[in-house]
């Protein structure tokens, strides 16, 4: 199938896997101005996102609808003034077909009426051009966070007075570094990636120690106790690492 003629010239696909091969949330950028499109793409790729870009609304709908279920885009950055099918119409059609992909509108239309209209048609956020790339990235991240995408590229996992920096394997409590063993760190990272989720001892063993670990699930309890001593104000009355009687542990 002659994809190139079907999509037209404006479509440029970028490899979904970065050089490091890490799983990054795939984003779609829909913008007809090539300079702006490439600037946005560069900014987002620099942050580790896998970016697909296209230049008109028809292509955007085609790309989104042809993406297999479950591999959809984590977010769409959508310009409103597009040739042919406009951004508002794209937004409306997606929502009408019960596609809830998060949408961040970027538009030169700056009146309050336009902003309200965009949000009411189903956009999650509306950023007025011209905007700074740092704000665009921060808003993308905020939207990914609240739509439940685990943005692997995100720098910090935070909970109350604890911060975990995945790229640095570092955890701070009230801004002070904690000295964690590798297993303690991995346990905490798993917990903080899934706040409130309850983990059984077996699941924790499987995720942190691996399938081939031969040992007792009491190992988990011991590591939890050590973690509590480092994280909790009062380890015998834990506020972060909570025991869920009969099931296991949860964080937060």
């Amino acid at each position: 199938m002659a994809d190139s003629s079907f999509w037209g010239d404006s479509l440029q696909l970028v490899g979904v896997d970065g050089e490091n091969g890490a799983m990054q949330p795939p984003l779609l950028v829909v913008e007809d101005d090539e300079t702006i499109r490439e600037t946005i793409r560069d900014a987002l790729e620099l942050e580790g996102f896998a970016v697909t870009a296209c230049g008109n609304g028809r292509d955007a709908l085609n790309i989104i609808q042809r993406t297999p279920e479950g591999e959809g885009f984590a977010l769409v950055v959508l310009d409103l003034m597009l040739p042919g099918l406009g951004g508002l119409e794209v937004c409306r059609q997606l929502r009408q077909s019960h596609d809830n992909t998060p949408i961040l509108v970027v538009s030169a239309r700056e009146s309050e009426t336009d902003r309200v209209l965009g949000l009411e048609v189903g956009a999650d956020d509306y950023l007025v051009k011209p905007f700074g790339m740092r704000e665009l990235v921060a808003r993308c991240r905020a939207l990914l966070r609240r739509s439940g995408s685990q943005a692997v590229g995100s720098k910090v996992l935070q909970h109350a007075n604890l911060s975990l920096y995945p790229e640095e394997c570092r955890v701070t409590r009230d801004g002070l570094n904690l000295n964690l063993s590798p297993k303690e760190y991995r346990l905490l990272e798993l917990f903080m990636q899934h706040p409130r989720r309850v983990w059984s001892r077996d699941k924790l063993l499987e995720h942190v120690w691996g399938h081939d670990y031969i040992g007792d699930s009491k190992t988990v309890d011991v590591h939890i106790r050590w973690l509590r001593e480092k994280l909790e104000d009062n380890p015998s009355n834990p506020q972060h690492l909570i025991t869920v009687r009969g099931f296991g542990y949860r964080f937060g």
């Binding site: 309050e112 609240r146 989720r197 869920v244 009969g246």
Partner: protein, 236 residues
């Protein structure tokens, strides 16, 4: 059926501006609770899980904002946060978003945009919540939500602590709404892991009674878990 108004917590140290915003949001159909300091707002937020949105003004002390954002995001239903800033630069807005705010709106703003952003935040939060593996049961004025992954039960949005066995029993009944189960069937399906023990079917009755005490408005006239005479118990 009219939707109940969305509850919103507004925290703004300036009473005059809080009052104006409260009026405007109430005109748009929100139910607004207003606070002028972070401390009482933290109390409200941790006591009630019926707030659907938190609107904060940037003039609150940083520690208060951080604490409120932490509470909102750790809440039973995570509560989205809209931060209102006076004349914030791009750097300020980025910092606010990175600190955990879901949206930042720069003062002065039009009330229509504020309302539209509030609605967009609530809409996204509800989509997220609905995507969780949750068993739901609504009878009369009571709604139960059982969150599998988190082993939690919410009754009208409030956490209800259950023992492991109560949780399993309720999960089993809620997974088969409307179908009655005999005591023996329940013993087999819910207490099956204790097969070495000989259990009295009265065990089931006792656990049902405990569940009713925790869940029913009037445990002597149960609405959620009903007795089907001659058959057993059923949910919904």
């Amino acid at each position: 059926m009219t939707e109940p108004p969305l509850r919103l917590l507004l925290v703004d140290p300036d009473p005059a501006s809080a009052f104006l915003l409260q009026q405007a949001l109430e005109d748009e159909g929100f139910a607004v609770s207003t606070c002028t300091a972070a401390e009482p707002a933290c109390g409200w937020l941790s006591q009630s899980s019926t707030f659907r949105l938190l609107v904060l003004d940037c003039q609150l002390p940083d520690a208060g904002i951080a604490r409120l954002i932490g509470l909102a995001r750790g809440a039973a239903h995570p509560v989205p946060v809209l931060l209102l800033c006076l004349g914030a630069s791009e750097a300020d807005r980025v910092r606010a978003l990175e600190a955990g705010a879901d949206d930042v709106l720069v003062r002065p703003f039009g009330i229509a945009e504020c309302v539209a952003r509030c609605r967009a935040l609530v809409r996204r939060a509800q989509l997220q919540w609905q995507a969780l593996p949750v068993l739901r049961l609504a009878v009369a004025d009571c709604e139960l939500e059982l969150v599998e992954d988190e082993h939690r039960l919410l009754r009208n949005g409030e956490d209800v602590p259950l023992t492991p066995r109560e949780f399993r029993l309720l999960r089993f009944l809620m997974a088969h709404p409307g179908r009655p189960w005999s005591r023996d069937e329940l013993l087999r399906r819910v207490w099956g892991d204790l097969e070495s023990l000989v259990l009295d079917p009265k065990t089931v009755d006792v656990h049902i009674r405990w569940l009713r005490l925790k869940l029913e408005r009037d445990p002597s006239a149960p609405q959620l878990i009903t007795t089907v005479r001659g058959r057993g118990y059923r949910c919904g």
